[in-house]
């Protein structure tokens, strides 16, 4: 900056010429200079003030906004990490329809070893072999004295065993927490639940994965934290399931059968109340699957869902119901039942000879193969196939189990006249008992298609109408007469109006052809006939019962008494009232009873989370 002089020579000289005081010029310049200096200083001070004001504004603004946020937000607990709660919350419980526990979790420990940190490897190996008799001492010593750095010893141990391992006092033996899946009811509903095993394993936790049944089908759902620990409620009724397994087991022993299956299904919703397959297993200690031989010999095999059986005469109602629906016959139409009947080079025989003619009702009541084939011939192959397909007998069932697709029915690839005839009386098409239950439920549901399910209280779209309500009612009344005067007289349980159809089918040989003395006997039923609420299927594998010196294998003598006992035991349990003629007097209350109102605060049932 060029400094302006206070006394510029030019102006002084000029002022002196004019006789003015040159000091005035100096004073004037001095004043100007001071003014400039003052102006500059004020600008700087103002700038500082603005900056300070900005800072204050920002600081107070921040505090103000924070206070505003605190005042307007809802108070919440700051979440802190709780480790043990997380471990036990990995998998939701499974309960029955009334909330009774079928599968839950328990916190246990696993034991592992760091052999390099061991003080006395041989003593530790001896101690462990004493606590766990299934471990080999030599192998442990070899592992501990070798150069391994880490090894698992036991996946799950009890608290007593943990204390015993602790008492060895070996710093190289360590424990890790483990969530363990337990099935408190043991063998009960084992095929439905399946079982579980460990997935990815770490020292501090391990994934629990379903390996079969519902556990595997709902694996993702059960492990989904967004369900808030809600248990999975199955449609199973624990007490009904237990009673069914008990009755089936005693029936199986009585009929010296190899296996048995039973299904109790609600007609309206398709919910399965009880489904058992014997022999069964303990899901807490799931046996290994068979690697060779027939899969159905393993207790893991679920006869009710995976079994592919020719279900015999129980199929006869399908062509008859369809013919009733198409108005080709009525229950009193005469059907030619002259036995044997010839189709191509094959002969179709009846169990007994029923004379030249039977009414359509009697074809079902007496279970005439020839009569059924005649009715099926009226329908024709295409319509017969179409109806069986609509009943769901060509596809695997939609039940929520991983085993469902393995129960795909064995449908003949081509349908020549003889196949159409044998399928009409239940040979040549192999389906699972669950398929039969769904098909019978469809008839019982006034012809509306029913899909089986294992989940309780789920809204599902209404089924397609595959049969007219009128035809379904006629079919039910025919099935009712099978029990009152036909092949299933032993199924009459007073008050429950059972309607059903027996089926005795020869077992196919693996090499082709049929066994002479091995049968699958089935009884498919619905009750009460006047308004069917439940469908019950009982299947016995290779039953035989001594009757009057001889041996009987027919369903009427084997599966039917078991089914009757099941209805007797299960129907009162599931709250179905027996119909009686006796009417009790209704007594008016003598006083207005005072009923305590229920608690208002609702307790939400959650699994451990």
């Amino acid at each position: 900056m060029i400094r302006t002089p206070l006394r510029p020579l030019a102006r002084i000289l000029r002022a002196r010429e004019h006789g003015e005081n040159p000091d005035e010029i100096e004073a004037e310049n001095r004043r100007l200079r001071h003014e400039a200096i003052q102006h500059k200083a004020r600008r700087r001070a103002e700038g500082r003030l603005v900056l300070m004001a900005g800072f204050f504004l920002l600081a107070f603004g921040t505090v103000g906004v924070r206070m505003g946020v605190l005042a307007s937000s809802n108070p919440s607990e700051p979440r802190s990490q709780v480790l043990s709660a997380q471990i036990i919350s990995q998998r939701a419980d499974i309960t029955d329809r009334r909330g009774r526990v079928l599968a839950t979790n328990l916190l246990t420990h696993s034991v592992y070893a760091h052999p390099q940190q061991m003080v006395d490897p041989i003593g530790a190996a001896q101690g462990l072999a004493r606590i766990f008799p299934d471990l080999s001492e030599e192998k442990l010593i070899r592992d501990f004295t070798g150069n391994r750095k880490f090894m698992w010893i036991k996946r799950k141990i009890s608290p007593e065993q943990m204390q015993a391992v602790h008492d060895i006092g070996e710093p190289g033996l360590l424990f890790g927490p483990r969530e363990m899946r337990i099935y408190p009811n043991g063998d009960l509903a084992s095929h439905i639940l399946g079982g579980s095993g460990f997935g990815n394993e770490g020292v501090s936790s391990a994934e629990v994965l379903g390996v079969a049944g519902v556990e595997k089908a709902f694996d993702n759902w059960l492990r989904d934290p967004s369900n808030d620990g809600a248990p999975l409620a199955l449609s199973i009724d624990l007490s009904a399931q237990a009673a069914m397994e008990e009755v089936l087991a005693s029936g199986m022993a009585l009929m010296s059968a190899k296996g048995a299956a039973g299904i109790l299904m609600e007609v309206e919703t398709g919910e399965i109340l009880a489904m058992a397959s014997l022999p069964d297993f303990d899901p807490n200690n799931r046996p290994r699957p068979l690697l060779k031989g027939d899969a159905s010999d393993s207790p893991l095999f679920n006869r009710a869902v995976q079994g592919q059986y020719e279900l015999g005469s129980t199929f006869k109602i399908f062509p008859v119901a369809q013919a009733l629906d198409l108005k080709l016959i009525n229950p009193n139409s005469g059907i030619n039942s002259k036995s044997p009947m010839k189709i191509g080079k094959y002969l179709i025989n009846d169990f007994n000879n029923y004379g030249p003619q039977l009414s359509a009702t009697d074809v079902i009541v007496k279970s005439s193969n020839v009569g059924t084939v005649r009715i099926a011939q009226m329908l024709g192959v295409e319509r017969q196939k179409d109806f069986l397909q609509k009943l769901g007998l060509f596809e695997p069932t939609s039940i929520e189990m991983v085993e469902a697709p393995t129960g795909r029915p064995l449908v003949p690839p081509r349908w020549p006249a003889v196949t159409a005839a044998t399928v009409a009386f239940g040979h040549g098409l192999a389906a699972s008992p669950l398929h039969l239950a769904a098909a019978y439920a469809t008839i019982a549901n006034r012809g509306k298609r029913v899909e089986p399910t294992l989940i309780h209280g789920r809204k599902r779209p209404e089924g397609e109408q595959v049969l007219s309500p009128r035809a379904a009612e006629l079919a039910i009344s025919m099935l009712r007469q099978v029990v009152t005067r036909g092949t299933a007289k032993q199924a009459e349980v007073e008050g429950y109006e059972i309607a059903g159809k027996t089926g005795t089918a020869d077992k196919p040989r693996p090499s082709g052809g049929y066994y002479k003395n091995k049968v699958i006997s089935t009884f498919a039923s619905m009750f009460p006939a006047s308004d069917p609420k439940y469908v019950l299927i009982v299947t016995l594998d290779e039953p035989s019962v001594g009757s009057g010196g001889g041996e009987s294998r027919t369903a009427g003598a084997t599966a039917v008494p078991v089914a009757a006992e099941l209805v007797r035991r299960l129907a009162p349990m599931i709250g179905l009232e027996a119909k009686t003629d006796e009417s009790l007097p209704s007594i008016a209350a003598r006083f207005q009873p005072h009923v305590e109102p229920g608690p208002h605060d609702e307790i939400k049932l959650v699994a451990n989370q």
Binding site: S80, L106, N185, G186, L584, A607
Partner: protein, 116 residues
């Protein structure tokens, strides 16, 4: 006047600082207490899970059946039968001795309830 203001402001700042300090420590104490309670809840939940599993195990149908068979002499329990259902209207309840409160009679009970 001015020294008084300075003194007042200083005292105020001191008081506020003391209050903030106390609030801070109280919050921390509350949070650690809450963490402890949450751990306790987790522990109790775990125990609840064990108890629930134990309850289910002790009430498994197989065991109950065995107990019923063992104690048949005393209990005489048999499976539920169809004849054991009755409408509540069929039951002739005797009149209670004296109603405890007259004004409670407004609540009506559903009389069609099923009773096994």
């Amino acid at each position: 006047m001015r020294p008084l203001t300075y003194l007042g402001v200083t005292l105020l700042v001191l008081a506020l600082a003391f209050w903030a300090y106390r609030e801070n420590y109280r919050t921390q104490a509350a949070m650690s207490e809450m963490g402890q309670i949450q751990r306790e809840i987790a522990g109790l939940r775990e125990d609840l899970g064990v108890l629930r599993a134990e309850w289910a195990y002790l009430n498994r149908p197989e065991r109950l059946r065995e107990l019923v068979n063992l104690n048949f002499e005393r209990l005489q329990l048999v499976p539920l039968e169809s004849g054991q259902y009755l409408d509540i209207g069929n039951v002739d309840y005797p009149k209670p001795p004296a109603p405890p409160e007259a004004e409670d009679a407004g609540d009506t009970a559903p009389s069609q309830e099923q009773q096994p």
